[in-house]
């Protein structure tokens, strides 16, 4: 059981954490024909936009309610109204999703109330879906914002089977299932999940679906909204699914919301990286579908087993330092521990029920300065691109994972789920260890001066 420690420093140095509102924004970017907006001052939007542009290397639709000091004090009703109308006329989205920021939360804007008033005032907006989620910057972290956004989407948009527009009785053999995807999954991961689910004859609706919007496809036309992602119609239809499969512990609240609203049975898979974890995923799909496991996945499973056999030599006893949000830390930390590594330093951004179960002595909710201190004697550093400076100082191999990844290509297509994703990840990390192996030299077995001193002092005791 890991001890959970929260940093007591007054000054965060080299942040690992990013803020809630942009976590919510990323979830909204996984919806089709959507325009996300931050209710706050323009700079928050600009920073979020640049961050995602650099990570995905894609156009990022994101707007702002453009609050200033005066409007903040007076309340943001007018700005929200104007923003909605402007977005509606200029970008013609099907859905506008607004996340609050620290500024407007400090003032305490009642945005849900504003939206009701705006709806009354503007009946022409009847077909436009408007979602609001509260995500103050000064609380929690990126993955919490994502989780809240998805929960809100479920609560507001999904139509229960027995309500107007619902499907009524859901037949037992229905193939439609919901996948609620966590923020630690890349567009590549989501694509892999979809293909796997479909291979069992199941028909998934994935929310949010970044593989539709931020996978780097070339659209025919240029649109100011998202192009691809979960459609509004599909979100509404989720109430008619036979099952909800959540991937990532932070998707639990959204899953429960779905259950509460529609009675949908569910399972939360804490991760699908690693052999056993992937087995659970595949076995569950077999059970849900009643179909045998396709040959393709039997073959992939044995490839993964082989990769573990070939690779474990290089992993055993290696010391790892990881800085990541809880669900990513959980997935990667467990995989590495299963391969024989020792998680020497684990730093994360926010609370999660997973933290105490992480196979390490201590999990610190802190920053990259903390991680750097704890990572001194490690063999591998894993964190997002902001680890580049410390990796250089520590002079140890550095695997970039998480978000942002701004100094490498292909962030969207990094794969770490399922048999195939785990296999490739083992190869990638194993190769880093191999490349860094120390060649033996004549002095390798001569004890260093320090060790000699330590020996003599030990005998003196």
């Amino acid at each position: 059981m890991a001890k959970i420690v929260t940093s007591r420093k007054a000054c965060t140095v080299n942040p690992l954490k990013m803020s809630q509102p942009i976590g919510a924004v990323l979830a909204f970017l996984g919806l089709d024909h959507c325009m996300p907006a931050l209710h706050g001052s323009q700079g928050c939007t600009a920073f979020g936009l640049v961050l995602f542009v650099r990570h995905f290397r894609e156009n990022i639709p994101l707007q702002t309610t453009a609050m200033n000091e005066a409007t903040t004090i007076l309340g943001g009703m007018d700005n929200i109204e104007e923003a909605i109308l402007n977005i509606w006329t200029r970008a013609k989205p099907e859905i506008i999703c607004i996340a609050s920021t620290g500024l407007t939360e400090t003032k305490g804007d009642d945005v849900d109330g504003y939206i009701k008033l705006i709806r009354k005032k503007h009946p022409e907006l009847v077909d436009l879906a408007i979602i609001y989620v509260s995500t103050p910057d000064y609380k929690d972290a990126f993955q919490d914002g994502w989780a809240r956004a998805v929960t809100k989407l479920v609560e507001e948009l999904v139509i229960p089977p027995f309500e107007k527009g619902g499907v009524g009785v859901i037949s037992a053999g229905i193939s439609q299932i919901n996948i609620l995807a966590g923020s630690h999954l890349t567009p590549g991961d989501i694509e892999e999940i979809r293909e796997t689910v479909q291979a069992f004859g199941l028909d998934p609706i994935i929310l949010p679906d970044l593989s539709g919007s931020l996978d780097g496809h070339i659209p025919e036309e240029f649109m100011p909204t998202t192009m691809g992602g979960t459609t509004l119609a599909d979100i509404r239809r989720m109430g008619a699914s036979g099952f909800t499969l959540a991937i990532g512990e932070h998707m639990r609240a959204a899953t429960e919301a779905m259950h509460a609203k529609c009675g949908t049975h569910y399972e939360v898979l804490d991760r699908i990286t690693g052999l056993e974890a992937s087995d659970r995923f595949i076995a569950l799909l077999a059970e849900l579908s009643g179909n045998p496991v396709p040959n393709k996945y039997r073959r992939q499973r044995s490839q993964l087993v082989d990769a573990m056999l070939d690779g474990h030599f290089f992993f055993g006893g290696k010391k790892i330092a990881i800085g990541a949000e809880p669900d990513l830390l959980w997935a990667i930390g467990n995989l590495l521990a299963e391969m024989g590594c020792e998680i020497t330093a684990a730093v994360t951004t926010t609370q999660s029920p997973l933290l105490e179960k992480i196979p390490t002595a201590e999990v610190l909710i802190g920053d990259l300065e903390d991680l750097e201190q704890k990572a001194q004697n490690c063999d591998l550093l894993i964190t997002h691109s902001h680890g580049r400076q410390m990796a250089e100082r520590l002079d140890i191999p550095f695997l970039r994972m998480g978000l942002p990844l701004f100094d490498r290509l292909g962030a969207a297509h990094r794969l770490s789920v399922g048999y195939r994703g785990t296999r490739d990840l083992i190869f990638e990390i194993g190769n880093m260890f191999m490349a860094n192996a120390h060649e033996a030299s004549p002095s390798t077995w001569i004890p260093s001066q320090e060790e000699c001193n330590a020996d003599t002092s030990a005998t003196a005791h």
Partner: protein, 458 residues
Amino acid sequence: MLQSKIQDVFNEPACGKNQGKSEKERKKGCTKQLVPGAAAGGCAFDGAKIALQPITDVAHLVHGPIACEGNSWDNRGAKSSGSRLYRTGFTTDISELDVIYGGEKRLYKAIREVIEKYDPPAVFVYQTCVTALIGDDIEAVCKAASVKFGKPVIPIDAPGFVGNKNLGNKLAGEALLDYVIGTQEPEYTTPYDINIIGEYNLSGELWQVKPLFDKLGIRILSCISGDAQYKEVAWSHRARATMMVCSKAMINITRKLEERYGIPYFEGSFYGISDMSDSLRQTSKLLVERGAPAELLERTELLIRDEEAKAWQQLEPYKARLAGKKVLLITGGVKSWSVVSALQEVGMEIVGTSVKKSTVEDKERIKELMGQDAHMLDDMSPRDMYKMLKDARAEIMLSGGRSQFIALKAKMPWLDINQERHHAYAGYDGMVALVREIDKALYSPMWEQVRRPAPWES
């Protein structure tokens, strides 16, 4: 306090835009009212950070929730020849409790931690929206911390919600004027000492032009703020002349250096061959006027002659390949005219340029350069830009990173000319580099394949 500073900045007499305004108009300031749902661009805090973060040995501490620093740190391309402290992200990362009870105590402790652990020559403390709204008095905290720790701790009071990046640049300048400039003395001075203001050493561009000044024996006493050390900024009042690089960004520093210390300035650019030469010429002229030996002028002309000849020789092979190529140039304001002239030097045709952030003066210059029928686009929608490229009415787009996909998704070449770019384009070498990059972008063999439809689609 902050309000009067903002008014002061809006009153900037040396600003071309202001000269044509009535008293009342001027008070309203130059920050256009932003349109909710149709706005883009960074906040004043962002602008202040852009302007000051290049000071390399200072600890830049952001007082606010994680959003302001956590989402944006270490994302700018200013380079350093010395300390790397400026690339360390410091923030108070305030919590809900701080919002309720005030964040001043945390800020004070944070300053102490930074000084104890990193011992910088100075700490810059940046105000942000939430902490401004709850009334945290960063000025008072900084003052107390300065006294207690015996080190300059300087408040940068430019919370995001007071305006755009440009205003933030200026407020940053005000902070330097109030707290930094004039507080230290250089070891020695020479008649050849200059300031360069508004140059951030992005991708190392300052180092691209420094050798030119070196060759003339001109010493860059202080650069504000590219590759600067704190002390260099502190003694910038001892320079003999100032070159102001980006006209609107820090005009207030430049003008007040003249007002307070009698340092004359000119406005110049390092982009393009003729602009570079002009800048060298004007620098030397001002120095000579201030007492440097007149032979400097001759040496300057000789250097210009050599460098220009060398540059043209290097550009020669590209001229035929680039002549008549149609460029869509989307940049923030001032940079437009200097890049326009640079591209025209190799015979490219500018089919449109954005003037959204340009002053009347900027626009006049563009008109001069591009002729009366210059396509100045005040506010071109991304969709229109996309069409223009898709229809090949423009053959390459030069812009900042966030709009690159407009060109790339139209399968048209694009080149980054903003902050995050990876290449340095200043001076004679920089111009050659820019042209080389444009040529590479236009003539990549990849275009032919990516533009061809899949075999089953034609």
